[in-house]
């Protein structure tokens, strides 16, 4: 676990009779974009708060950047940028004044102006920085929160629902910004309930269900081909006859065929006079993975 940026062992949080987080073993490696998925109330935020030393674990251990939390918070947290459960700022001050106050907690005065200008620019708040936060939209507050997280050029970003409140353009900018940072070496731990967001950005995925970590895997292996091929053809009957029992599902023009080699299948079909509109190896979507791993959605939240 030497290169683990986040590692927990049996991390547990109990609120009275309720197990909010139930013995999870997270491993986030250096350079990962880790997507931490789970329904509302599944324990994501409690886990994030335990990693940051805000909530004290009932049992188990958490290591962040190689040091125990919350014991080594003073050493660890200066290298971590956070956005937990929505941004927050003092409404009567400007975005810039907020960042300057925040920067004054533990950073030298030297270079403050440049640092603040830089992060405001990066999140696209360059012009609005001098306006009071009171007048900011949700998306602007979100950008300001991210700017604050970036102030100390962190090695690790812990972001809880970072695209909340952003419009599609904003989401795209946020994604590009985060991927750029990741490219420069920042590890990103991103908790979300938006599957599409995680699917587009993350290299590794953990799924939390009612306090238990039910999946933890590279996204690429979760989405590995299933060994089946999807064929779209107007000649369904003919194809079925030709393939002789290999067709597992047939929905209108769409056939799911056993066998993972589309090239071989294509030759077979075309040689048999079947017109092929589309042909591709079947891959599982993240949604499918998550739904298979988690329990009945009607019970989600009942464990809180």
């Amino acid at each position: 676990m030497s290169d683990a940026v986040i590692a927990t062992r049996g991390l547990t949080k109990r609120y009275g009779p309720v197990l909010a987080v139930d013995g999870i073993d997270l491993v986030v490696r250096s350079g990962d974009v880790y997507g931490f998925l789970g329904a509302n109330g599944s324990g994501k935020t409690t886990t994030v708060r335990m990693l940051l030393g805000l909530v004290l674990a009932t049992s188990g251990e958490a290591e962040v950047l190689g040091a125990r939390m919350p014991r080594s918070a003073k050493r660890v947290l200066p290298q971590v940028g956070t956005l937990v459960e929505g941004p927050a700022a003092y409404p009567h001050l400007s975005g810039r004044a907020n960042l300057e106050l925040f920067d004054a907690l533990g950073s030298a005065r030297r270079g403050r102006r440049a640092r603040v200008d830089d992060v405001l620019e990066r999140v696209g708040l360059g012009v609005a920085g001098d306006r009071r936060v009171r007048g900011y939209s949700l998306g602007m507050r979100q950008r300001l929160g991210l700017a604050a997280a970036l102030l100390r050029a962190p090695r690790l970003l812990v972001l809880d629902e970072p695209t909340n409140g952003l419009d599609p353009q904003g989401i795209r900018e946020m994604r590009d910004l985060l991927l750029g940072l990741n490219h420069e070496g920042t590890t990103i731990f991103l908790s979300s309930h938006l599957l599409a967001e995680v699917e587009q950005m993350c290299t590794r995925v953990g799924v939390l269900d009612r306090g238990r970590l039910v999946v933890q895997e590279q996204l690429a292996s979760l989405r590995a081909p299933t060994g089946r091929t999807v064929v779209v053809t107007p000649d369904g009957d003919r194809a079925s006859g030709l393939l002789d029992g290999r067709v597992e599902v047939r929905e209108g023009e769409r056939l799911v065929v056993r066998g993972g080699d589309p090239a071989e299948l294509n030759r077979l079909l075309v040689d048999g006079g079947v017109r092929v509109r589309e042909l591709a190896s079947e891959r599982r979507g993240l949604e499918q993975v998550v739904l298979e791993a988690t329990t009945d959605p009607h019970h989600v939240g009942a464990s809180r």
Partner: protein, 271 residues
Amino acid sequence: MIRVELVKMLRRPRTWITILLLNALPTLVAVLLAVTDIGPQPGEGPAFLSAVLTDGKLFPLAALAIVLPLFMPVAVAVVAGDAVAGEASGGTLRYLLTRPVGRTRLLVAKLVSVIVFVLLAVVVVAAVGYVVGRLLLGGGDATGLVTGVSGNSLTSTQLVERTLMSIVYVTLSMLGVAAMALMLSTMTDSAVGAALGALAFLVASTLLLTLDAAAALQPYLPTRYWLSFVDLFRDPILWRDIDRGVLLQGVYVLVFLGVAWANFTTKDITS
């Protein structure tokens, strides 16, 4: 950290509005006295008020005596009650603590900022009282001597010294309320709840002071010695109640802050 908290407090409009409002009542009283020339009888009404008609230099003390029983504690409770709970409900607490700012340091910085607020409020009330008193009320004795509470004469130097001591004493008296509100502020995410809780404590204390059956408790009630700064203007100065007042506030501050610290450093921050 302390500097950041001070900047936050001083840049907040609420701080100055509160101080402005604190000065409104004494100023109104001064205007009424100046216009009507009707002062309370000696020994009645707020302390020093009967004397200010002849000598405006005593008005800073009268102003403090006017705001001390209710206005000042309300202002202090609001500011101290907001200290941690306000950050919690605004969501900024989690960002302060993950910056990271140690929880003990944050509490100390909040305490310092509250103390500075109290001192600022007391000094401004006294200063405005002085200006208003000199402008509107009596010019005093031509010799420059001021008549103290026991009918004794005080020189200008003595008056300044004792006024400064009063300012310190009134500030100390407010620290008990501040510590109480700060403690409640670490226990709830509602700033209003913390402020009202601290005020309820004071109202209870004030009520028990009027009840003969509570005589055994009275020496320990937080508001018992609040107005004892009047004793600084006797000749000789009557130190007994002042000493007790300082000691009592000290004990309250230590106990409340101890509880606040124990609670805040071990609690889950879920706001």
